[in-house]
C-alpha cells in the first residue's frame, strides 16, 4: 500500500511534468509522424515514367501484348530496344535506363507454366525508389487473359541489380515501429532520470523513503503508455497512407510492443545510471541506438549478416521486436509462434531492469 502510494506519486508527477513539457510532448507525436512520413514518402513516391529498355526475343503477339500492358501502366516509358539482356545491362550501367524488360524466346511456353517466371525485369537497385516502383510492376497481374492465357502467378521474374534486398513500405513500416520506439523510449527514460539529477531534484528524492524499484517502475509506466500511443500512430498512418495491413492479431501486436517498450525503457534506465548530464544520457542513448539500427535486420537482412554481427544482433531488443512485428503484421503469425523472440525480450527486460535497480544508488557518491 505504501509502496503503491510512492509509485503512484512518481507516476503522477512524471505525467504532469510531461504534459507541461511541450518539447518532449511534441517529440512523442512528432518523431513517429515525421519518421513514418519521411520513410513512407520516400518509398511511396509515385514515380512514373521510369526509363525502360526492352529486349523482346519472342516477338509474338503475346509478348507485344505484355509490352503494351506495361506501357499502359505508365510506370515505365520504353525508351530503348535491345536484343539481349547484356545490352540492357550496359544501358543500365550507363544510366540510360533504370528498368530493363527481357522477354525470352520461349515466352509463350513459359507463360503457360506457372512454375517458371515468364519474363525478366532488370532493376537498377542503386536507386531505392526505382527498385520499389519496379517491384510494383512485378506484382502487377497483366491482363493476359485477353489473349487467352490463364496464369495464376505474376509474369515477371525480378532481378534487382546493385541492391539484392527488396524493400517496400509494407516491410519497412512495421519495423519502423521498432526503430522509432528504440529511439524515443531509450532517450526519454535516460533523460528523465538524469534531468532530475541535473536539476537537483534527485538529492531530495533520495532522502525520502522511496525504494529503487518503486522509482524505476514509477519512471517507466508513463512512458509505456506513450510508447503504445506511438505504436498506434505509426500503425494508423501506415495503414491509412501506405496500406500496411495488420494480418495477425492486434492484441498480439500490442502485447509484443508492450514487451519491447518495457525492454527499451529499462535499457534507458540502466544507461541513466551511467550518465551525469542530459547530454551524456543522449550520447549513450544514441550509442545504444546505432547498433540496433544496423544489426537488427532493419537495414540489412538479418540472415545475410556475418555470424558475429548476427550474434551481436541477437543480443539487441530491436532484432527480436522486428522479428515479432514482421511476423504478426505481415505474416499473420501468432505471438505463440514467435516465442523465442518474446522470451528474448523478456529476458532483456529483466536483466536491464535488475541492473538499473541495483546500480541506482540512493547516494550521491
Amino acid at each position: 500500500m505504501s509502496s503503491l502510494l510512492r509509485m503512484g506519486a512518481i507516476i503522477g508527477k512524471e505525467i504532469r511534468q510531461l504534459s507541461r513539457d511541450r518539447l518532449t510532448f511534441g517529440m512523442i507525436i512528432g518523431i513517429p509522424l515525421l519518421q513514418i512520413l519521411l520513410f513512407g514518402y520516400a518509398i511511396n513516391l509515385d514515380v512514373r515514367h521510369l526509363r525502360a529498355g526492352v529486349a523482346d526475343q519472342a516477338t509474338t503477339q503475346l509478348s507485344r501484348q505484355l509490352i503494351a500492358d506495361v506501357e499502359a501502366s505508365q510506370v515505365v516509358d520504353i525508351v530503348a530496344r535491345a536484343r539481349t539482356a547484356g545490352e540492357l545491362e550496359d544501358m543500365m550501367r550507363r544510366g540510360e535506363i533504370t528498368v530493363g524488360i527481357v522477354i525470352p524466346a520461349d515466352f509463350e511456353r513459359r507463360v503457360r507454366e506457372a512454375t517458371r517466371p515468364a519474363a525478366q525485369l532488370l532493376v537498377d537497385g542503386s536507386d531505392p525508389t526505382v527498385a520499389n516502383i519496379a517491384m510494383r510492376l512485378a506484382q502487377m497481374r497483366f491482363e493476359l487473359r485477353k489473349v487467352g492465357v490463364e496464369r495464376p502467378s505474376t509474369v515477371f521474374e525480378v532481378r534487382t541489380y546493385y541492391n539484392p534486398e527488396r524493400r517496400s513500405a509494407v516491410q519497412i513500416v512495421p519495423a519502423l515501429i521498432g526503430v522509432i520506439l528504440t529511439l524515443t523510449m531509450v532517450l526519454f527514460t535516460s533523460v528523465a532520470v538524469v534531468r532530475e539529477r541535473e536539476r537537483g531534484n534527485l538529492e531530495l528524492l533520495i532522502t525520502t523513503p522511496i525504494r529503487n524499484l518503486e522509482l524505476m517502475i514509477g519512471k517507466i509506466i508513463p512512458y509505456i503508455v506513450i510508447g503504445l500511443i506511438q505504436v498506434t500512430i505509426i500503425l494508423l498512418v501506415g495503414w491509412y497512407l501506405f496500406d500496411v495491413p495488420v494480418r495477425g492479431s492486434v492484441v498480439d501486436l500490442y502485447q509484443g510492443s508492450l514487451l519491447f517498450i518495457a525492454a527499451s525503457l529499462s535499457l534507458g534506465l540502466m544507461l541513466s545510471t551511467f550518465a551525469k548530464t542530459q547530454f551524456q544520457a543522449m550520447q549513450l542513448a544514441f550509442l545504444a541506438f546505432l547498433p540496433q539500427l544496423l544489426l537488427s535486420g532493419f537495414m540489412f537482412p538479418f540472415d545475410g549478416m556475418p555470424p558475429l554481427a548476427q550474434r551481436i544482433g541477437r543480443l539487441l531488443p530491436l532484432t527480436h521486436f522486428i522479428a515479432i512485428v514482421r511476423g504478426v503484421v505481415l505474416r499473420g503469425a501468432a505471438l505463440e509462434e514467435l516465442m523465442p523472440n518474446v522470451r528474448a525480450l523478456g529476458i532483456f527486460f529483466l536483466i536491464t531492469m535488475t541492473l538499473a535497480t541495483l546500480r541506482f544508488r540512493k547516494r550521491l557518491d
Binding site: 506519486a9 531530495l204 532522502t207 557518491d365
Partner: protein, 333 residues
C-alpha cells in the same frame, strides 16, 4: 545517549586529495536548534549529506537516532526531513502538486495528507499560491515551500542546509520564528548558515572552517569564553587604522565592521586600550578605542584566524570583501 539525535565521531570525508570534512565530532541534542556556522566551502553541506546518508564517510561514523549511517539510512529516512541548499522541488509543478507529491512519497494517507497540506499552506503563507508553478515563486516563497514540503510528514529531525541564503532579512526573521515553533513542538533542527545573527539564535552552535570543527557550544558562552580581548575602534580612516594595527605583534586580528574595527588582542596584554591608541597615533590615525564584549564574529575570527584578508564569499556569491562593510552580520568581514 538517548537524548542525542545525532552523534558523529571522527566524521571525515575526502574528495580526492581534498579533505572536505576533517574528523568532526558532534553530539546534537534532541529538540534543539543546532547551528553549523562556516564560510562557503567549510564542509557544512558535506557534513549534512553524510548525516542523512547521502554520502558515505571516508572515515569515522555517524549515527542518527542510534542508527548507523549510511547502513541504516532507509530506516532513518521516514524520520528526517532534508532541505537542500539548492531548491530541489519540481519547478514545473505547482505549489500544491509539490506538496501532494511529497505527501505521497512519505506514504501519507489521503486524509492526513490533505490535513497536513492545508495546515502547512496556511502556516507558511502559501495559501494564495497553491496553483502557482514553483519555478515562478520568489526566493522567500520557494524557501517557505521547501520547508512546508520537508515538514509535511512531521519528521523528528530536520536538516536545513543554508535555508535562508536566498531571502531578504524580513523573510529570514519570519523563517526563524517558524523554526522556533517547530523546535518547541519537539523537532530537532540542524541548520547551517553563514549569517552571524542566525548563528546567534541557535541553542547550540558548531563553527566549521576548512572542514574542521573549530569551536562548539552555546553561542553566548562561546562569546564570553573567547580567549582574547576585543577592542572596538571607531575611526573615519578604517583602512589605514587596520593596516597600522595588523603589523603589531600582540594584535591577533583586525576585522572591519562598517566604520568600526574589531581589534582582537592576546589575553594578558598590558592595558591593551592604551597600546592600541599608541599604535593608531603613531600611524597618524585618530580614533576612539573601547573594550567591548566579543560577538560571534570575533569568536569565528579567533577560532579560524580569518580576519578579512581572505574574502569569504557568501553562498550566493554576491558579497566579497567590500570597504563599506554593509553586511555586518555575515561571516565575511
Amino acid at each position: 545517549m538517548s537524548d542525542a539525535a545525532i552523534v558523529a565521531a571522527g566524521l571525515t570525508r575526502t574528495f580526492g586529495k581534498l579533505i572536505a570534512v576533517d574528523s568532526v565530532d558532534l553530539t546534537i541534542p534532541k529538540g534543539k536548534i543546532y547551528g553549523f556556522l562556516g564560510p562557503n566551502g567549510s564542509g557544512k553541506t558535506t557534513t549534512i549529506r553524510m548525516l542523512c546518508g547521502l554520502l558515505k564517510p571516508s572515515a569515522g561514523s555517524a549515527r542518527v537516532f542510534g542508527m548507523e549511517l549510511p547502513r541504516d539510512a532507509e530506516k532513518v529516512r521516514p524520520r528526517i526531513g532534508y532541505m537542500t541548499q539548492k531548491f530541489s522541488l519540481y519547478e514545473d509543478l505547482t505549489v500544491r502538486e509539490n506538496l501532494e507529491f511529497m505527501g505521497r512519497i512519505y506514504s501519507m494517507r489521503r486524509r492526513r495528507r490533505r490535513q497536513r497540506i492545508e495546515s502547512n499552506l496556511a502556516r507558511y503563507a502559501l495559501d494564495d499560491r497553491q496553483r502557482q508553478r514553483a519555478g515562478t515563486l520568489s526566493g522567500g516563497q520557494k524557501q517557505r515551500l521547501a520547508l512546508a514540503a520537508v515538514t509535511l510528514h512531521e519528521p523528528e529531525l530536520l536538516l536545513l542546509d543554508e535555508p535562508t541564503s536566498a531571502v531578504d532579512p524580513q523573510s529570514r526573521r519570519d523563517f526563524w520564528d517558524g523554526l522556533f515553533e517547530l523546535a518547541e513542538g519537539g523537532t530537532t533542527i540542524l541548520v547551517s548558515t553563514h549569517f552571524m545573527d542566525e548563528a546567534e539564535r541557535c541553542h547550540r552552535l558548531a563553527i566549521l572552517a576548512e572542514g574542521r570543527l573549530v569551536a562548539e557550544g552555546v553561542p553566548r558562552e562561546l562569546s564570553s569564553n573567547i580567549d582574547a580581548v576585543v577592542l572596538e575602534v571607531e575611526t573615519d580612516r578604517p583602512r589605514r587604522a587596520r593596516a597600522a594595527l595588523r603589523s603589531v605583534g600582540f594584535v591577533r586580528a583586525v576585522t572591519q565592521i562598517g566604520a568600526r574595527l574589531h581589534v582582537m588582542v592576546e589575553t594578558g596584554t598590558d592595558d591593551p586600550e592604551a597600546q592600541v591608541r599608541a599604535v593608531l597615533k603613531s600611524g597618524g590615525v585618530a580614533g576612539i578605542v573601547e573594550r567591548v564584549s566579543a560577538n560571534l564574529e570575533d569568536v569565528f575570527v579567533a577560532a579560524t584566524g580569518f580576519d578579512g584578508d581572505v574574502a569569504l564569499p557568501a553562498a550566493d556569491g554576491s558579497a566579497g570583501a567590500d570597504e563599506s562593510g554593509a553586511g555586518s552580520d555575515e561571516v565575511h568581514p
